[in-house]
Amino acid sequence: MAKLKDLLIDLAKVEGINAAVVVGRDGFVIEGVSDNSSMDIEAVGAVISTGIGSAEMMGRELAVGVMTQALVEYKNGILVTSLLGRDAVLAAVADLSANLGNVRYQIKKRCPEIESSL
C-alpha cells in the first residue's frame, strides 16, 4: 500500500485539497492522508461509502446513468468523491476557496492510477 499512500500524499498536495482517503465499499479505510489533525480518517469509512452508495442509487432511480463523481458543498469545505472500480471509493476534502475545476480534474486524472494501486 506504500504506492497508494504516495499517490494520496501527491493528491493532497494539490492546492486546496487537505485530505484524501480511499475506502472499500464495505466501509473499511484502506488508506488516507490528512493535514487536518481533527479529522479522524478511520471513522469516516462507512459514512463515505454509504454516502456514495446513496448518490449512486439516486442516479439509478433518476435514470441518469452510472455515477462518475460527486461533489457536495458544506459550510466549511467541499467533498469530492469518485468510484474506484466496483470495490472502492476515493474521497477528497477541499477548501471552499479551492479551484473546483482543478480539484475535479486532478481527481479524475489520478483515479485510474489510484485504482490500479489497490
Binding site: 475506502v23 464495505d26 466501509g27 473499511f28 454509504t50 452508495g53 446513496s54 449512486e56 466496483r86
Partner: protein, 153 residues
C-alpha cells in the same frame, strides 16, 4: 413482556430492513453492517453477553462460537487461523432461509452477523484492523465459510 419471539417475525423484519438498506445505498450496504457491529457488541454486553475477556484469537473463536450457538444463530461455528486470515466455518446458519430469499431478490448477504461480530471484536479487543475477505456457501445448504483478514494497526 413476552419473552419468546417467533423466528418468522424476526425474519420478516430483517428482510424488510436489509432490502430497504440495499435499496438505499446499494453496494455500500456492507458499510452499514461495519458501522452497526460495534453497537451490536455494546448491546450484547448490556444484555449480559460480555466479550471483554477476549484478548486473543483463541478466546475470540471460543466466545463467538459459544454466543452464536447458545443464541441459536447456528448449530456450530469452527474457527481456524492461518497467518493473518481467520476462517470461520458456520454449520446450519439460522439465517439461511432469509439469506436465500434476499439473494433471490437481488440483495447480497451484507448483513452476516457472524462476520460483523468477528470483525468488531477483532478491532475492539485484539487491536487489529479487520476486513471480510470472502463469504460463501460451503458444504450443505445453510453451511457457510467466511474469511476475515486481520491486519496490524
Amino acid at each position: 413482556m413476552a419473552q419468546k419471539i417467533d423466528v418468522r417475525a424476526v425474519e420478516a423484519i430483517l428482510y424488510g430492513v436489509y432490502k430497504a438498506l440495499h435499496g438505499l445505498v446499494g453496494d455500500s450496504s456492507a458499510a452499514v453492517m461495519r458501522k452497526a457491529a460495534p453497537d451490536i457488541l455494546d448491546m450484547l454486553s448490556k444484555l449480559g453477553v460480555d466479550f471483554s475477556c477476549v484478548d486473543n484469537v483463541d478466546k475470540l473463536s471460543a466466545k463467538v462460537r459459544e454466543t452464536a450457538v447458545d443464541a441459536g444463530l447456528c448449530e456450530n461455528m469452527q474457527f481456524t487461523i492461518n497467518g493473518n486470515e481467520l476462517t470461520a466455518e458456520i454449520t446450519q446458519c439460522s439465517f439461511f432461509p432469509l439469506t436465500a430469499k434476499l439473494k433471490e431478490d437481488g440483495v447480497p448477504p451484507f448483513g452476516c452477523p457472524f462476520a460483523a461480530l468477528t470483525i468488531a471484536i477483532s478491532e475492539k479487543n485484539l487491536g487489529k484492523r479487520a476486513r471480510l475477505k470472502t463469504l460463501e456457501p460451503a458444504g450443505k445448504p445453510g453451511d457457510t465459510k467466511l474469511v476475515v483478514e486481520l491486519m496490524d494497526k
